[in-house]
């Protein structure tokens, strides 16, 4: 299919940067998710790849072909919109055939290709209906069929599941993922839903404030966030981030007089990362905390939430900081009781408070 390469691509509206210069290389057949809160520039980036938005600087390469200033119709890409954008005056069948007609395909070819894609998506029974008569999910299926029918070099999807009901979104999520695997199609997928991003992406590009925060596989982004924004944004609830002061292998937290002994392997890295300072942030996922009566850390129960397979315990740890711990759902914890816990040393991360960047562990020999 295709590789996509962005080199120093940027977008300005007046003096305002919608997208700051960014570099991104997307491999052939890869499923890339652009993830970020609204207004972070992810949709603008996608639209620049499609050509619906012009770039203010930089170049875009599709299969080593410079397409920066090509018209959208000349780029050989397909775009799936959040609100489907099916032509309301055409039947589903005609909607799917529409891109083929632009290429001036013969009637037999159109019919053959439409039938193929219709079979793939199992939407044979919808073909005569107008988009207005279809449910949201079926409309999105037709929209996907319209994108697939042309065998484009790459698929660009702008929150294609954003307008669907929650339970239906999961069905469509797996359908899109399956299609991607079957078609081996390079896909760029925009979403603000981090669960969707984790579930679908081969790699996730986390964006915020018009620039890339981190590029990595879902596991990398989840386990090793590169900065505080990514740590907070990924995961539900996000990573616990507790402020403290570092001195001689111990982090002193405020409030309940918690002292955290930093694992041996980290001490050198932290010293280097803080560069003489002492303000740091400890980060750990809710599942990294292990409740243990002999635990070194202590928190006061603020609330507990039953979440089905597990429960989430909200603990006050400093005066106004609340952390989340995943626990066994069977044990009730009364409000305001004290809970002792430890952090799994494999799963603890450290950030510099000043730069907000993650402190990189020293490479073990």
């Amino acid at each position: 299919m295709a590789t996509i390469e962005l080199r120093q691509v940027e977008k300005k509206f007046g003096d305002l940067h919608a997208v700051k210069p960014l570099d991104l290389t997307i491999q052939d057949g890869e499923f890339i998710v652009l993830l970020g809160p609204s207004g972070c520039g992810k949709t603008t980036t996608l639209r620049m790849i499609s050509g619906l938005e012009t770039v203010s600087g930089g170049t875009i390469w599709l299969n080593e072909r410079n397409v920066t200033w090509l018209h959208p119709s000349e780029r050989d890409i397909a775009f799936v919109f959040q609100f489907y954008a099916l032509y309301p005056h055409l039947s589903a069948w005609k909607n799917i055939a529409f891109p083929l007609q632009a290429q001036g395909e013969s009637r037999e070819t159109v019919e053959k290709r439409v039938n193929e894609v219709v079979k793939l998506l199992r939407i044979e029974h919808l073909l005569k209906a107008r988009p207005g008569q279809l449910s949201g999910g079926d409309q999105q299926r037709v929209a996907l069929a319209r994108a697939l029918v042309r065998h484009p070099a790459a698929f660009l999807m702008d929150e294609p599941l954003g307008a669907l009901d929650a339970d239906f979104r999961e069905t469509m999520r797996s359908e899109i993922k399956r299609l991607h695997v079957l078609q081996h199609a390079t896909t760029v997928y925009v979403t603000h839903d981090q669960i969707e991003a984790m579930a679908m992406g081969d790699r996730i590009v986390v964006m915020s404030e018009a620039q890339i925060q981190q590029i990595g596989t879902p596991a990398e982004v989840y386990n090793d966030p590169s900065n505080l924004f990514v740590a907070r944004f990924i995961g539900s609830p996000g990573m616990n981030l507790v402020n403290g002061k570092y001195a001689d292998g111990v982090v002193q937290m405020a409030g309940l007089d918690n002292r955290y002994a930093v694992p041996q392997g980290w001490q050198g890295a932290i010293k280097k990362g803080l560069d003489g300072g002492s303000d740091l942030v400890i980060g750990f996922r809710p599942e990294a905390a292990q409740i243990d009566d002999l635990g070194k850390l202590v928190g006061k129960v603020y609330a507990s939430e039953m979440q089905g397979s597990s429960a989430v315990l909200h603990l006050t740890i400093n005066e106004d900081e609340i952390i989340h711990i995943r626990t066994d759902r069977l044990i009730p914890y009364p409000i305001d009781s004290l809970v002792h816990f430890d952090i799994n040393p494999q799963m603890v991360r450290f950030f510099s408070l000043n730069t907000e960047a993650a402190i990189q562990p020293e490479v073990t020999q």
């Binding site: 919109f81 609100f83 032509y87 309301p88 005056h89 529409f98 891109p99 319209r146 042309r150 660009l156």
Partner: protein, 332 residues
């Protein structure tokens, strides 16, 4: 208090639970509304009914007090309207009546009121002028308006708001005010009493209206449709024709009818700027009052004939209009 287990359904509810019975008072309300609508419609349509009746009355029936509701219809009014006639003196009349064999229906009708047809009246030509001028100017203003509205709706245009305001401002003073400067201008250009002059005038007059109205409709069409067409391999012009146009059809229909009604009914400019060659029907119906006494049936027939083309167009476009004149207030 009874628990849900005691009062709630014990088996799954499978039949529809919607109740189709309506409270009697609500039913009465509906009937009264329908009756009121019929009455109001009837009152509004009375002048039109009187006009239609008058068009088919004989001269005697028209002036009879009180006005007759039941009468024997004749086409005299249309005879007066469409033909130029001379009154026969007694001896000629007798001679004509003696030999009625090779006369057609209209000639016989004329003979029955003591007249002879000399040829078609001016009105026929004027109705034709009306059709040419109103039709052409409507088509022009809708097409030009459509492209302008699309550009205003979709593209970044320097000073867009000012331009739009300027376009609207052309409607802010009554048209009659500019008739004299316009008359002088047209005299200079040699456009007085020409079709082209009237077509351009009406087109310009309708353009502001059509740009604004159509812009509203095009704004309602999500831009994603065109973007989808663009990435699907169409050029912008193709996307416009294949995606925007079919969806703007309601707006186009509504605009067409409004523009047509204006151009078709326009009286003041037509009176000032046309005399013979390009005179349209509205001023000519009014001037019928002057020649040969008050031919009420001819005036009524003229008005009726004048009404019909617009009525046909409006009727043909009624499905689109109904949706169109709500100005996109109702979302599908």
């Amino acid at each position: 208090m009874a628990s849900f287990e005691e009062t709630g359904p014990r088996t799954p509810v499978v039949e529809p639970t919607r109740v189709d019975r309506v409270h009697p008072r609500a039913k009465w309300g509906k009937t009264i509304r329908v009756i009121l609508t019929v009455i109001v419609t009837f009152i509004m349509i009375i002048p039109v009914l009187v006009m239609i009746m008058t068009a088919f009355k004989s001269r005697a029936d028209i002036v009879t007090p009180p006005p007759k509701v039941f009468f024997s219809p004749t086409l005299e009014g249309f005879l007066y309207l469409f033909t130029d006639r001379s009154i026969l003196n007694t001896s000629n009349l007798a001679a004509e009546r003696a030999n009625p064999g090779d006369l057609n229906y209209w000639q016989k009708l004329a003979l029955s009121v003591g007249q002879k047809i000399n040829g078609p009246s001016d009105y026929v030509g004027r109705l034709k002028n009306s059709m040419i001028i109103a039709g052409t100017s409507t088509i022009l203003s809708v097409i030009l308006g459509l492209f302008a509205a699309y550009a205003f709706s979709r593209f970044k245009i320097a000073g867009k708001d000012d331009l739009l305001f300027f376009i609207l401002s052309t409607r802010m003073l009554p048209g009659v005010v500019v008739t004299i400067p316009l008359f002088l201008l047209y005299k200079l250009l040699g456009w007085n009493d020409t079709h082209i002059g009237m077509i351009i005038l009406y087109t310009v007059f309708n353009l502001s209206f059509s740009v604004w109205l159509l812009k509203g409709f095009i704004d309602e069409i999500p831009i994603e449709y065109e973007e989808a067409a663009l990435v699907d391999g169409y050029t912008r012009l193709q996307a416009f024709f294949r995606v925007v146009l079919p969806q703007a059809v309601n707006g186009i229909a509504a605009t067409t009818v409004f523009c047509l009604i204006f151009a078709w009914n326009e009286y003041a400019f037509a009176l000032m700027l046309t005399s013979e060659k390009a005179r349209t029907a509205p001023p000519s119906i009014a001037t019928m009052l002057g020649s040969g006494g008050l031919e009420w049936s001819a005036i009524a027939a003229g008005s009726l004939g004048f009404l019909i083309p617009v009525a046909i167009v409006t009727f043909a476009l009624r499905d689109y209009l109904l949706r169109g004149v709500t100005f996109g207030a109702v979302r599908k």
